[in-house]
């Protein structure tokens, strides 16, 4: 069976997740918005299946530049939200046109999922943060969910997996 972009948590993802915990405390106490996210490059490049019945499209807008890559991380449970993705998809930002880009999300597990998108502008495989662990690269969530001094809750970003359907997310 061909696995599609289903990855275990990479080393960098674990690092980001641990930062997420401290980042949460920090950001909760500041005007800073959402802390570090789990959108991170898998160690192995994802193979995108075209035949999966649960393939969806992600229509991204508001991409600020054609540099680097777009990282999409998909999560299946509140417990794993922003910690342990069930799928990670990458796309080159250079494919964007007028800030828009269509990304295929292949072989999604059935049910309800939530995702986050990060624009890894410098292509280093992670969402960069400044010396105070505030993110410095753009990111967003499904439903364009926003958090109040922290990331949105899993529920706020939930979408139904529906073959052929299109999700819209703005990075602006």
């Amino acid at each position: 069976m061909k696995k599609t972009a289903i990855t275990t948590q990479s080393r960098t993802a674990r690092r980001i997740s641990s930062r997420f915990v401290c980042g949460l405390a920090l950001c909760a106490a500041t005007t800073c918005g959402v802390p570090a996210l789990a959108a991170d490059a898998p160690t192995a490049p994802p193979a995108v299946s075209v035949s999966s019945p649960a393939e969806m499209e992600l229509e991204l807008s508001g991409i600020a530049s054609g540099e680097g890559q777009i990282l999409v991380s998909v999560f299946a449970t509140p417990e794993e939200w922003l910690k342990k993705p069930v799928a990670v998809v990458r796309a080159l930002a250079s494919a964007q046109k007028d800030g828009r880009l269509l990304i295929k999300l292949g072989a999604l597990p059935a049910g309800r999922l939530a995702l986050n998108v990060a624009h890894d502008i410098n292509g280093n495989g992670r969402l960069d943060m400044n010396a105070m662990r505030m993110p410095t690269e753009p990111f967003a969530f499904s439903n364009n969910a926003t958090g109040m001094f922290g990331p949105p809750k899993f529920d706020a970003a939930l979408f139904d997996v529906q073959a052929g359907a299109r999700l819209s997310v703005s990075l602006k």
């Binding site: 405390a25 920090l26 950001c27 909760a28 106490a29 500041t30 005007t31 800073c32 918005g33 959402v34 960069d128 400044n130 010396a131 105070m132 505030m134 993110p135 410095t136 753009p138 990111f139 967003a140 969530f141 364009n144 926003t146 958090g147 109040m148 001094f149 922290g150 703005s170 990075l171 602006k172």
Partner: protein, 523 residues
């Protein structure tokens, strides 16, 4: 000095009247009647609509000194409402940067005014949407667009800094926004280095006479300090855990050897914040706890000492200087003590509704901290580091202290403040005060109750000594608002003869919102 009738007539030029009429019409739409009838001095807090302002050949009353040539930049909250929504706190307003350019020839000064809103990410998105989209510091607007980091909420509304020819509009929770110094067009957030992108950068950098810039930022429980060269290169920066939570630290002071902070006993109720309260409404003031005096060695940011004093809230410092051998230094600090946070916030919300707060005062304080000395701090609080704190107080109502730029981080003798003289219940200041710390002499000048006077900065007179010896040989330059004429003005005083009144006032044909802080840069 009195206003000449012919000057008053000049102000009544048709164009100016038309413009003021438009401003009044706008004010009406915001419940301006309340502002006008109960507290006319609060009218400018109604805010502007986000438009640029520009006026040339301003009416000059009196005489602008021939040597005063350059640009006075000033920043403050300028936009207070969009659609039906209005900010509830003065600190929320989106930044409006003004440039007052003093030119012309000897005896024939020409002054031009220009004001533009800083085109932050927030301002641009909200202008396009026609409504607020993001939470403000003191107003719990639900996020209607993505919050990426602190800069998502940056309103760039507090002060300005020119560094190596590059002008910046400063906030404190995020990046400095770079502006074109001539057109005031926004260039974007200043990135000092990749790892410092989007970092908190306070609106009170201290510039030493040699051009070295010191600054800091706070976020949650962490602080950062910066040393920046006169050419704008960050030479050193260090992020560290603050000794106490630091949700609200506005200013600091530098002496020859130290960076000095007063950290008030304020923490953040995270549950309240997540429950939808504003940042400011989620702050908790702990009156029984200490204010921490944090002293950082300029030569080694990791050498930090913490002392304690009774709870007090300070927004602004005049200056600091130190003396004595290493390990037993005495630090001298002058600052203005505000009121406890809940009271300050209640007042700042009242004025945004056009209501006069009960008369209150922020007062001058002078601290002497003997580091290494045995003994408890004031009020018997046991200090975290050995040291003795002695406080002297004065009772005048003041804020926005300034010193001569030639003495920043050096021993100083003179401090200048806006002050309130015989104002009764009226809000704000109507005068200026000069304190000679050596002689204890006080000199003041006050306008009548129709005038609101703002921060005035020291502008060294050309040809006076460049070092500490030149201290006080300067003009005082700042802004004000005349409630009866409904016009804003710039006023210029001789800092060595303050009680003689203004040398000149330069009148705008319109009013502008009150600002927080400004800086003058000689041509």
């Amino acid at each position: 000095m009195t206003m000449q009738r012919r000057d008053w007539l000049k102000l009544g030029a048709a164009g100016a009247l038309a413009w003021t009429g438009a401003q009044e019409a706008w004010a009406q739409g915001l419940g301006g009647a309340a502002f006008a009838s109960t507290a006319p001095e609060l009218a400018p807090l109604q805010g502007l609509r986000g438009e640029d302002l520009d006026a040339r050949d301003l009416v000059i009353e009196g005489r602008v000194p021939d040597g005063l040539r350059g640009t006075y930049y000033r920043n403050g909250p300028g936009l207070m409402a969009r659609g039906e929504e209005r900010y509830r706190h003065w600190f929320d307003g989106d930044g409006l940067v003004q440039a007052w350019t003093f030119g012309g020839s000897a005896g024939r000064a020409q002054v031009r005014h220009k004001a533009r809103f800083v085109q932050t990410r927030k301002f641009k998105a909200e202008a396009e949407a026609g409504r607020f989209l993001l939470p403000a510091f003191g107003t719990a607007i639900p996020p209607r667009m993505a919050i990426q980091n602190a800069d998502s909420l940056n309103v760039a509304n507090t002060s300005v800094l020119m560094l190596n020819g590059r002008l910046h509009a400063l906030w404190e929770g995020g990046s400095a926004y770079e502006l074109d110094p001539h057109t005031l067009a926004t260039r974007g957030p200043r990135v000092w280095s990749p790892e410092l992108a989007g970092m908190p950068f306070s609106a009170h950098p201290k510039v030493e006479p040699d051009g070295t810039v010191w600054n800091f930022g706070t976020a949650g429980d962490r602080m950062v300090v910066y040393q920046i060269s006169a050419r704008g290169q960050v030479l050193r920066s260090e992020v560290f855990d603050a000794p106490v939570p630091v949700p609200m630290v506005h200013d600091f002071a530098v002496s020859q050897r130290f960076l000095v902070f007063l950290l008030p006993p304020v923490d953040l109720d995270v549950a309240a914040l997540r429950g939808g309260q504003s940042m400011l409404d989620s702050m908790r003031w702990h009156a029984q706890e200490a204010t921490r005096v944090l002293v950082i060695d300029k030569a080694d940011f990791s050498r930090r000492r913490v002392f304690e004093m009774p709870a007090s809230l300070v927004f602004h410092f005049g200056n600091a200087w130190d003396e004595g051998p290493a390990g037993a230094e005495t630090l001298h600090l002058d600052y203005v003590e505000s009121r406890p946070l809940p009271q300050v916030n209640a007042e700042l919300r009242q004025v945004m509704r056009g209501e006069r707060p009960a008369p209150q005062t922020s007062q001058p304080r002078f601290m002497r901290l003997q580091m290494g000395a045995a003994g408890a701090g004031v009020a018997g609080l046991s200090p975290a580091s050995a040291g003795r704190i002695t406080l002297q107080s004065r009772s005048e109502s003041v804020e926005f202290p300034v010193v001569d730029p030639r003495v920043v981080g050096q021993r100083h003798r003179h401090v200048y403040y806006p002050t309130a003289v015989d104002l009764g219940t009226r809000w704000g200041f109507n005068g200026l005060m000069h304190l000679d710390l050596d002689s204890g002499r006080r000199e003041r000048f006050a306008f009548g109750p129709e005038v609101v006077l703002e921060e005035h900065v020291l502008v060294p007179k050309p040809g006076t000594p460049q070092g500490v010896a030149g201290e006080g040989q300067a003009w005082l330059l700042g802004l004000g608002y005349d409630c009866r004429r409904q016009r804003s003005f710039a006023s210029i005083f001789d800092a060595q003869a303050l009680s003689a009144g203004p040398l000149a006032r330069v009148w705008l044909p319109y009013w502008v919102t009150y600002g927080f802080h400004g800086k003058f840069y000689a041509a």
